[in-house]
């Protein structure tokens, strides 16, 4: 075979290029990974179907985590959304549910993401801009008004204050008469990728990890259907990493959470089935599909072999995907619909459990209702028209996709080993290692764009004038309205009870207890998010990032 291949390459392929005057070129993925002109059986030496792929729903799950995959159930179409006031967003949720969306996903505004109230000086100009403003349980009650929490699943993108927002959600369910035992959803709750990439942090790594383990422990007993973490590569990729770095750092983050939970004394099979993942789907179609497949196999092996998990559910890498925000372009914005479709298709061919498709206008602002509808319809077209769901893992067995899957797994393992040797991910972050890797990759990509080694249609090639598109605008009245409600909440609540619960919370933090029950007490009394976070910061301190570029 090798001989035939060499002959073909020399006489036909290279000769052909020479004759057409093109010459030999390097072909690389968007991550700069070298790709061969053709893949053949020799690229998969030692390939063993049972060991490397096996069947869907069987270890190591390369072909999918469920035996029935999309024949049993399609992926959850879950559009991340939130803007303005809780009333505005509640209306959008009802609209999305009416149009066939099957799960909710809450986008909070930046002050909430950072754990400060709307009346904090840093919140100026930010209220309701990037998501919905939530200061206290009062806002959360409005956000889910008329939406039965026992019937839907909700994902909340929230990190340092995740435990607090989760407590608010549990409290809203209580008010609806729904037990915490039946509610289902996800909190992102992944602080490690914040230090690496998204930079939404409040407390230093140690206390942050402690709070996360608190949610694992509390969830495994009291909220058994909740995914207490969504270990996220998405933001690492958006910050400029390569696909392999996204894969490696995410999986190594997962290992770090498991290790910290084990140190607390939790049993692996009690919490591991509730760990979930979140990946990016970028432009390079095949590389993305290989990344998803490699992630599943890598995690299954780590859980089984490294941690000795026995429950099969602990081996499963269940993941959400979002198409790449950073790949969307302001120039010729309608082209973004096509990019999103390709990325969404990669996620589906990669076997995602749920999917958010970005809207064409998101380089400018939060999406308009029309743009969100096109994004949702994109998923529905893939699900119902494209035919790709007819068979499970349709690309499995392709020489290229299997080789790429193997290589990505190997390269990710090298990174994981390196971080193990540094003493784990918290240590690696303190040394600035993953941060620097990401910045280096993003700068390399920028230089490749400027040399036109990489092409972005409409930006560094095929430019043309484009029309402006209608955009969603967040009125400044949202800020006024939100500040008014916050004032009212502070006036009407029982302030001595608030003080009391906050005092208890502080004491529990000092005594290193699991904080979840104390947080629930605080939110039930309408203590605000900012008050709760400040109380914890008195004990835990605040993280200061070293300033480098």
């Amino acid at each position: 075979m090798k001989k035939d291949y060499d002959r073909w390459k020399k006489d036909k392929y290279l000769e052909g290029l020479k004759n057409s005057g093109i010459g030999r070129k390097n072909h690389t993925t968007i991550s700069g990974k070298k790709i061969k002109e053709l893949y053949i059986p020799d690229d998969l030496k030692g390939f063993d179907y049972k060991n490397d792929l096996s069947f869907p729903g069987e270890y190591p799950y390369t072909r999918g985590i469920h035996p029935t995959m999309y024949h049993g159930r399609l992926w959850t179409m879950r559009q991340f959304s939130g803007f303005g006031s809780a009333e505005d967003t509640n209306k959008r949720y009802k609209y999305l549910l009416k149009h066939g969306q099957t799960g909710l996903s809450v986008a909070f505004h930046l002050p909430t993401l950072m754990g400060v109230d709307s009346d904090h000086p840093l919140a100026e100009g930010e209220i309701g801009k990037c998501g919905v403003a939530i200061d206290s349980l009062a806002d959360m009650e409005i956000l889910f008004k008329g939406i039965p929490l026992d019937k839907i699943t909700t994902s909340m993108t929230i990190n340092p204050p995740a435990a607090v927002l989760w407590a608010m959600y549990i409290a809203v369910a209580e008010k609806q008469g729904v037990s915490s035992k039946v509610i289902s959803g996800t909190i992102q709750n992944d602080i490690l990728k914040e230090y690496i990439a998204q930079k939404t942090f409040v407390f230093p790594p140690g206390p942050s990890m402690k709070l996360i383990v608190d949610t694992f422990e509390y969830g495994s007993k009291e909220v058994p259907r909740w995914n207490t973490i969504s270990i996220s590569g998405y933001h690492i990729r958006e910050a400029g990493s390569t696909a392999v770095q996204e894969l490696a750092f995410t999986i190594r983050d997962g290992i770090e959470y498991v290790e910290w939970a084990l140190k607390r004394g939790l049993k692996i099979d009690d919490f591991a089935p509730r760990l979930s993942f979140f990946f990016n789907s970028h432009n390079d179609f095949m590389e993305e599909i290989a990344k998803f497949r490699a992630a599943r196999r890598l995690w299954a092996k780590i859980m089984k072999e490294r941690f000795g998990a026995e429950n099969k559910r602990s081996w499963l890498l269940r993941f959400h995907t979002q198409t790449s925000g950073v790949s969307l372009m302001a120039q010729q914005p309608y082209n973004n619909v096509v990019r999103v479709a390709i990325q969404a298709l990669a996620a589906v061919l990669g076997g995602t459990q749920s999917l958010h498709t970005n809207s064409l206008d998101e380089t400018y602002a939060l999406p308009s209702e029309e743009a969100v509808t096109i994004a949702l319809r994109t998923q529905q077209i893939i699900a119902h028209e494209s035919g790709v769901t007819n068979t499970i893992d349709p690309l499995g067995g392709s020489y290229f996709i299997e080789k790429l899957t193997n290589e990505m797994e190997d390269e990710a393992e090298d990174y994981i080993k390196k971080i193990d040797d540094m003493g784990g991910m918290v240590k690696a972050i303190e040394m600035g290692f993953p941060q620097k890797e990401v910045i280096d990759s993003s700068y390399d990509y920028q230089k490749a764009l400027e040399k036109q080694e990489k092409i972005i249609v409409g930006v560094n090639a095929f430019q043309s004038e484009h029309e402006t598109i209608p955009l969603l605008e967040i009125d400044e009245h949202v800020a006024k309205h939100q500040l008014q409600r916050l004032k009212e909440v502070k006036k009407t609540r029982n302030s001595s009870k608030v003080k009391n619960t906050l005092r208890e919370l502080k004491k529990a933090a000092q005594d290193d207890k699991n904080l979840m029950p104390y947080l629930l007490d605080c939110v039930r009394e309408y203590a605000t998010l900012g008050e709760i976070m400040d109380t914890m910061a008195e004990v835990y301190g605040r993280y200061q990032e070293p300033i480098t570029y």
């Binding site: 002050p111 100009g125 950073v326 700068y443 920028q446 570029y549």
Partner: protein
């Protein structure tokens, strides 16, 4: 201008942590021979203006993706005027809707660079506008 290195402050106002663009610009300006000072994340207008004056920069580059530019930029410009920094050129980049640009230029933002701008355009602009 090889005789004197141009000093630039790259600043991140606003609550968002999206620093990819800011860091790419820092590196590109550095590679172009400028002296670059980066503020780090979530700097309020007072902090940005006082670092700019202390560091004696000729240009401030504001990177913002949170949507709060219309509130924060005027504050920065006013503080610069109050503190004798009106000679410092202020340029901006990030997620800034095109329709906001005329208003920002009116208050004294010299140029707004939208996503997709090659970094050498920014380098050229700085060289060309510091006479």
């Amino acid at each position: 201008m090889p005789d004197k290195r141009i000093r630039v402050l790259i600043a991140k106002p606003g609550l968002d942590g999206h620093d990819r663009g800011a860091k790419v610009i820092c590196r590109a300006l550095r590679d172009a021979g400028f002296e670059v000072i980066y503020t780090g994340l979530r700097r309020n207008p007072e902090e940005i203006v006082s670092s700019a004056i202390q560091e004696d920069v000729s240009v401030i580059g504001l990177s913002i993706l949170s949507g709060a530019h219309n509130v924060l930029f005027p504050k920065i410009i006013n503080l610069l005027k109050e503190q004798g920094g009106e000679g410092i050129k202020v340029i901006a980049g990030g997620i800034i809707p095109e329709k906001d640009i005329p208003g920002l230029k009116k208050i004294g933002i010299s140029e707004v660079f939208l996503p997709g701008t090659p970094t050498n355009k920014i380098v050229e602009w700085i060289r060309g506008n510091l006479k």
